[in-house]
Symmetry: C2
Subunit: 743 residues, 2 copies
Amino acid sequence: MTKYYILFLLFSCTTLLSAQRPSLTLTKEGITKIKSGLKTAPLFEKELLQIQKEIDLAILKGIDVPIPKDMAGGYTHQQHKVNYNLMHKAGNLYQFTGNEKYASFVKEMLFAYAEMYPSLGLHPTMKSYATGKIFWQCLNDANWLVFTSQAYDCIYDFLSASEREKLEIDLFIPFANFLSEENPKFFNRIHNHSTWANAAVGLMALAMNNDTLLHKALYGLEDDGINPDEIDNDGGYIKKDGIRQTGFLAQLDYSFSPEGYFSEGPYYQRYAIFPFLVFSHALHNKRPDLKIFEYRNGILKKATNTLLQLTDPQGKFFAINDSQKGMTYKAFEIVMAVDLMYLIDNSQVQLLEWAAKQNKVAFNIAGFYVAQKLETMNLSEPVKESRVYGDGVNGDKGGISVLRIDDAELLFKFSTHGMGHGHFDRLSYSFYNDAGEVLQDYGAVRWVNVDQKAGGRYLPENKTFGKQTIAHNTATINMGSQYKAKVKNAEVVDPVMYYFDADQENIKVVSAIENNAYANVNQHRTMMLYKDAEFSQPLILDLFTIESKEGVNIDLPLWYTGHLMKTSFTCGKNLSSLSPLGEKDGYQHIWQEGTCSVNEDYFAFNWFGNNRFYTQHSASHAGDKVVMGRAGANDPNFNLRSDPVMIHRKLNTKEAIFFNVLEAHGTYSKTTEIPKDPYSSIENVKVIHSDKDYIICAFSNQDYTWEVLFARTDNNSNSIHEVSVGAKNYRWNGIYQITKLKK
Amino acid sequence: MTKYYILFLLFSCTTLLSAQRPSLTLTKEGITKIKSGLKTAPLFEKELLQIQKEIDLAILKGIDVPIPKDMAGGYTHQQHKVNYNLMHKAGNLYQFTGNEKYASFVKEMLFAYAEMYPSLGLHPTMKSYATGKIFWQCLNDANWLVFTSQAYDCIYDFLSASEREKLEIDLFIPFANFLSEENPKFFNRIHNHSTWANAAVGLMALAMNNDTLLHKALYGLEDDGINPDEIDNDGGYIKKDGIRQTGFLAQLDYSFSPEGYFSEGPYYQRYAIFPFLVFSHALHNKRPDLKIFEYRNGILKKATNTLLQLTDPQGKFFAINDSQKGMTYKAFEIVMAVDLMYLIDNSQVQLLEWAAKQNKVAFNIAGFYVAQKLETMNLSEPVKESRVYGDGVNGDKGGISVLRIDDAELLFKFSTHGMGHGHFDRLSYSFYNDAGEVLQDYGAVRWVNVDQKAGGRYLPENKTFGKQTIAHNTATINMGSQYKAKVKNAEVVDPVMYYFDADQENIKVVSAIENNAYANVNQHRTMMLYKDAEFSQPLILDLFTIESKEGVNIDLPLWYTGHLMKTSFTCGKNLSSLSPLGEKDGYQHIWQEGTCSVNEDYFAFNWFGNNRFYTQHSASHAGDKVVMGRAGANDPNFNLRSDPVMIHRKLNTKEAIFFNVLEAHGTYSKTTEIPKDPYSSIENVKVIHSDKDYIICAFSNQDYTWEVLFARTDNNSNSIHEVSVGAKNYRWNGIYQITKLKK
């Protein structure tokens, strides 16, 4: 009885509001503002004129709705993708200009789809855990519906009642049912795929005023009958333990940490934010009672800002997990997100600052509003902070951290696994500056949408190399990946943050512990970005301890970007034959270019990349090796990049202490041919002392020694520590201290 | 008697003019203009303020004239380099500002050198054919003198007569004698080294009014006693057959072709142009009677303009021969050249256009003049032409050619060997567009001035790989380099230009013959850049015939830049072991990633680089192979880049016809993730007919076939040709014709 009452309320509510069209991401009121204010928003006007040109051309070219056949990258795939974009733009244009030719174009295309759709079975490729009808996967069908629902809303009043009835009965309702009831594994998960599904069905429900569908979109299917062991194409589990709520609101509850971090990482967050925001925008207009942008303390606002913070100095998203490298804050999803969130809360001036850098606005009321504001405001560069972002719904399941000083940006990862798109890379880091990538995360082995490379899908080497531990700047034990490379194992338990401090101007610190990736192995890594007047650029201090009950072999790679210049140890490259470094867990994909012995207590590795010189200085131990490698072995289809790696190897070790100091110290221009500081000024690094509670390390240049004092087991900032090493007494307050001593 | 008379004339002439200081590249008159007009030349003023800041800082830091010890890149090398630059700048500053602290600084430093110089033996490194005293090679000592002579000229009047005497007797005269009489192999060649030597001695002679030295600089040493078989460190011969004149004027006579091409290539031309122009500038001021800028029909003007034309779309010099890649028209030598040649002849507006792109001016009167002009003129982009530049003193010893349409730029090389810096790469080409290098010339294996890499000198792999034929986009016969990789062999005989035509708007053609690189092998290659409405970008048509008395194995590499996407043939990459492609002539440095059979008559190779897609379509023959390779084998010190190559291999062939069509057809952005035209629209290429006089080839897309008709033995543009193939009759006028036929 209560249920019916709620449905009735919903119905009357939407009915009342739906009298005016458009009603989703555009409103009558917004259209009026745009029409009268075009000249005050030149960036928006430019966008409009460009789109008008594009659509006028498309109208001349005529409509093409082919029978679905191809994989991503292929002709029918691309054409249907083009079509939903054209419909969306033409629908908006009809509203902005009043010119009926745009409405006719949308109508005609919709009818072509309505003609074809009832006869379609599943897409013939059958390569997805959730095969679509228009596309090879339901995900792309959901993309189609997100855009098309908005187009339909725009021309709703242009259509007759019987035309609308035909479209809804032959196309939209079956389409929405297919994505929901007929594909529960796709619709009823906590996952970016399901966010698209929920938003697609929800947007079309709002467009049609169909409350039954809207209820499904918001709250999910009641009984989906999914087996908890089922996995998707990326190896992610359909069901997540302990999560039983589904639908759009549950996505908002469970997709983000309280600070707006998305466990799949920023590349996928960029993809998911779009349906989150578009549907929320429509709900904001049509269901203001839901207060969607206030939901979970404004989680969408936080998610948008977090995303912008997770970019490197060149604006590329940190390429953790399954990321295609090179995706930036200029992606259309981020343009839309920035504009919309500024429209919703114009106290967020930083969003306007990002919008200025994007130099492009969304083709909607938010874009118009931002374009107007950009004309009147005097803006700075947006501030990028050193921060830690807790992972997990409560923010307590590890996290990721960005340390920033000047143009140096370090990303340290100790998050949850990241579902099907996660990599086995806990305690890994990557490093960037204005000149680009310095220490890379390989990213995904994939060319998104590029037909030549397996139709744009993930390539086999993504699983066998890209996801494996050795492909990342973190330790691999006994040549095997963390959690035996099983998602199920990795999802059970999370790293623990030990310490984070970004309050000092010249030093930023993050420290985390991972004791479950390998049986009986405890790992604790602390990374610092440290600025001192003796060095032109901030140093990276990397203190990594690994304790094991049994003696283990440890490989700690440095995936550097550039060309090896010089090593402090002798290391010849294999001359006339190369073989892979191992047989499994990613090692089979690395050519072994050389394996060399290093000095007992210290070695240095100097390279040149992005027109800068870098040197990593490392404490070492008798018997340590360095392996030089290069990706590309066991790669039958030439899918891997030929990237170099230097691996610090410790054999049969129970207690390993890695202490590395990385200095970016010089530059070289191919035009002036002048090398500036090609050598690091650091002369030595060493571990002075270690016991179960403390580590004392040091590094020095010609004039100074820096001692790094660290409490391994007490992360109370108020504790006082005291250690005696020989005659010398060290005393400090809190987790760590760096002491600079004149020699 | 005549000789003395001339000397007397010279003497009186210089004495008359030398009354006023400065007198070399600066003049009293120029200084007056600069002082009064600073505000009218903001780019020059900016330069001045920046340099003033730099010198003020250097003065605070104090003078450091260390005992010479290090190789290039090392401390003493860098410091002495810094010193001559500081002296030059400080000398100019003294003139521009009148502030005596700058003169004192130069004076003090000069005296420090005068103190040290008499006690110096040869530089301890002893690694050069002409070891210097301040530096490891005389060449750098000459650099020092070129800059220092100008500094001396600037403070000449600031010094007392006795101070001048001390400097001249203890430092300048012995320095100049060391570079000339004591190093005839260095001073008395036709080579960029000797140009520096001649200019250095000549500039100091002018500064000192020393006519004996000036005569040596202009006309060389009379008897140098050099053995004609002696070679320098780069493997070049000291003596060139048939050339017996030496000195600066002989450099002008013999270094350039009549069009201003320099046989070592643009990278070295950029280096050599500096002493050519600086000394000429001083001669222009102090010896106007020589009319140096009119010498040899204005050869220096031509050389400057040719140099600017030999840049790719990103402004980098084409990296032929021993070039360090990345050197651009923004190099300080080119800034100076552009400014000076515009000062000398301001009808050359294109130079001002280049100056605008450089956005920097020289620190002299020419830079001042250009900075003034830039304020008043409305400038376009400089025009870059399709042209051929004849090589050799008379322009008849082969040449190089640049074909340009839109942003496509193709460099085809059929020049003389290029002396010690030449590569065995006749009939090779490289290809560029706005996005960068598409088909590369590897360039030199060297990091200039980078101490870590053998003190910045050429690395061993430059000789064993960089110079070898297989490292270039031209044919290698029987896995051996052209001319058995002997400079002496290659210098004897030159390629012959068969045809060049850049008059058509949509097609640019160059064709050349090389019949001496291999015994009994005739090679003829024709390259066309062809624009047609069916293709978004110009095609490269490459027709390469190789005839041999004996059956030979031929390798034709394509050093592509980017990542392999797809091949029309099956070609798996070697999975678990790599070995080198051969044992010598560069093959020992290429890892063999795979060797595959191609289809009998056609194959295609598709790759992605610089955000664009490319496909090469090739006619093939039964038994042809494709080898996939990657540089980096037998490279003990990690000196080589890991660059990929695709090699078309023909075995045991007496008559090979390569016909390749390269299409740049699509784009892909990592931010939009939208591939546009990832596949080429060309469906087939084939050789329809060949006989001793004619070749008929064709390629086609879905709608058209293009026939390429070519006369191999008659390069008369007026000839009419007729060939019957089966029932079909082909008739055309001139060397070639492209016929477009609707299918």
